[in-house]
């Protein structure tokens, strides 16, 4: 069987390297420290740019989020992989997105940033990674038990285009300086690479990630579930690439204290990323992967992305998001609610294998014939 290049081992390694180099360079060009390319942070900024929350330091319509979806859309159309689909527990996915974001903002970063932070010398990322692995392991446990959000079905072309078109619309509002958009004057939201560079880089990341199925959560999950190290190879290369580029660009600052846009409450770094990892595992993809799937026409992933954007607004409006000085007043309650939701859901959605497999797949039952 002929395999497309990016699905091979060299392919996933190249993909990790490209995305890693881009992340480090974007930071060099102006993006916040150890946040060259963070999906959760940028969706949080985007939520702020729309005024969904009013934390003035983190408001910016990040072209990276728009670009990654459009990049995935374009390449999936070129390769015939654009396939509008949906109908697999959309509302549940929305709330998984909400809680994935609440967890990520307690830690201060998504699974992409946890590796970027590590590669920048922020050792608080170690507890974050431990949390991520624990959360994904919990999700994998339920998947093995038969957890499923059910099948999706093909939909009409317009439904797969709604999210990408919405993103294009946001891009136009942004490029034409619609005066009601919110824009940070100081803080992380004011730190940004030139728009054209952000946008072009994101198109490349979207295309490369679409081809390679790059997924941070999946890299951990596949190792736990089926001892498949394919995606992990990509993530390790990604981390290595950011690290080497950071050394070259003078962006490597090892330590625990005074790390940029980070705190060192180890328990909450762990718990935040654990909640996030569990929610991503239950939804079937890390935040980057969800953007890619959205670009491919997966409307369920699109709903998850909207959940993350709304989750960012909840986090900041209700004091659940952390800041460099520590966790928010209600951060621990957000984490608690998230775990209650995710674990209840995980138990409730365990299906008998027969149901999961569908009528044509009862090989266990038909095996005796």
């Amino acid at each position: 069987m002929k395999r497309q290049f990016f699905s091979t081992k060299s392919g996933i390694i190249l993909a990790g390297a490209i995305i890693g180099i881009i992340a480090a360079v974007l930071q060099y060009m102006g993006n916040p420290a150890n946040m060259g390319f963070c999906i959760a942070c940028f969706e949080r900024d985007l939520a702020g740019g729309l005024g969904l929350h009013r934390t003035e330091a983190v408001q910016y319509i990040r072209p990276e989020i728009i670009g990654i979806i459009i990049g995935a859309l374009l390449v999936s159309m070129l390769t015939g992989e654009f396939r509008p689909r949906g109908g697999s527990s959309a509302t549940i996915r929305f709330f998984l997105g909400v809680f994935a974001m609440i967890g990520a903002l307690v830690f201060l970063g998504c699974p992409w940033r946890v590796f970027i932070r590590l590669a920048g010398g922020d050792f608080n990322a170690v507890t974050g990674i431990a949390g991520l692995v624990s959360g994904v392991a919990a999700g994998a446990f339920f998947i093995r038990k038969g957890y499923s959000l059910g099948r999706s079905y093909s939909q009409q072309k317009p439904s797969g285009l709604v999210m990408p078109l919405f993103m294009l619309f946001l891009l136009l509002l942004f490029l034409f300086n619609f005066p009601r958009l919110f824009q940070s004057v100081t803080g992380p939201g004011a730190m940004k690479a030139p728009v054209i560079i952000s946008l072009l880089s994101a198109l490349v990341v979207g295309a490369v990630a679409q081809r390679s199925r790059f997924c941070t959560m999946g890299s951990v999950r596949d190792v736990i579930l089926v001892r498949d190290f394919h995606l992990l190879t990509g993530i390790l290369t990604f981390t290595g690439a950011v690290f080497v580029m950071n050394l070259l660009l003078g962006q490597f600052n090892p330590g625990f204290v005074g790390q940029p846009i980070a705190h060192n409450s180890h328990i909450w770094n762990f718990a935040g990323m654990a909640l996030s990892g569990l929610a991503f595992a239950l939804a079937g993809g890390c935040p980057g992967r969800q953007l890619i799937l959205t670009g491919e026409g997966d409307t369920d992933a699109g709903v998850f992305v909207l959940g993350m954007i709304v989750g960012a607004a909840f986090s900041h409006n209700f004091g659940m998001a952390s800041s460099p000085s520590g966790i928010g007043d209600f951060g621990m309650w957000g984490i608690l609610a998230g775990f209650v939701f995710c674990f209840s859901l995980a138990f409730a959605m365990i299906q008998k294998r027969r149901k999961l497999a569908g009528p044509t797949a009862n090989h266990n039952e038909r095996g005796g014939k």
């Binding site: 390769t79 396939r83 998947i143 499923s148 579930l225 497999a357 797949a361 090989h363 014939k369």
Partner: protein
């Protein structure tokens, strides 16, 4: 077990990693040949990679809205 009717695992519409997990079950049941229906390229790659790692020879057949992976255990 007779081989008159090949076992079929229908993973259409299911997202990763479920297609692979369902295929794992067939491999655990030591099925010598079976087919897996997939409807996304990602699932096709994942299931193929998994089967090849477990020493199955695979042939992929294109249908209109999905693909069929035929797997045969190698000696």
């Amino acid at each position: 077990m007779s081989h008159s009717e090949m076992e079929t695992i229908d993973t259409r519409g299911l997202s990763c990693p479920q297609p692979v997990i369902m295929t794992t079950q067939a491999v655990k049941d030591a099925l010598k040949d079976f087919e897996v229906l997939v409807d996304s390229e990602a699932s096709l790659e994942n299931v193929s990679r998994f089967l090849q790692s477990r020493h199955y020879a695979i042939v992929v057949e294109d249908k209109t809205d999905h693909k069929v992976i035929r797997a045969v255990k190698q000696a």
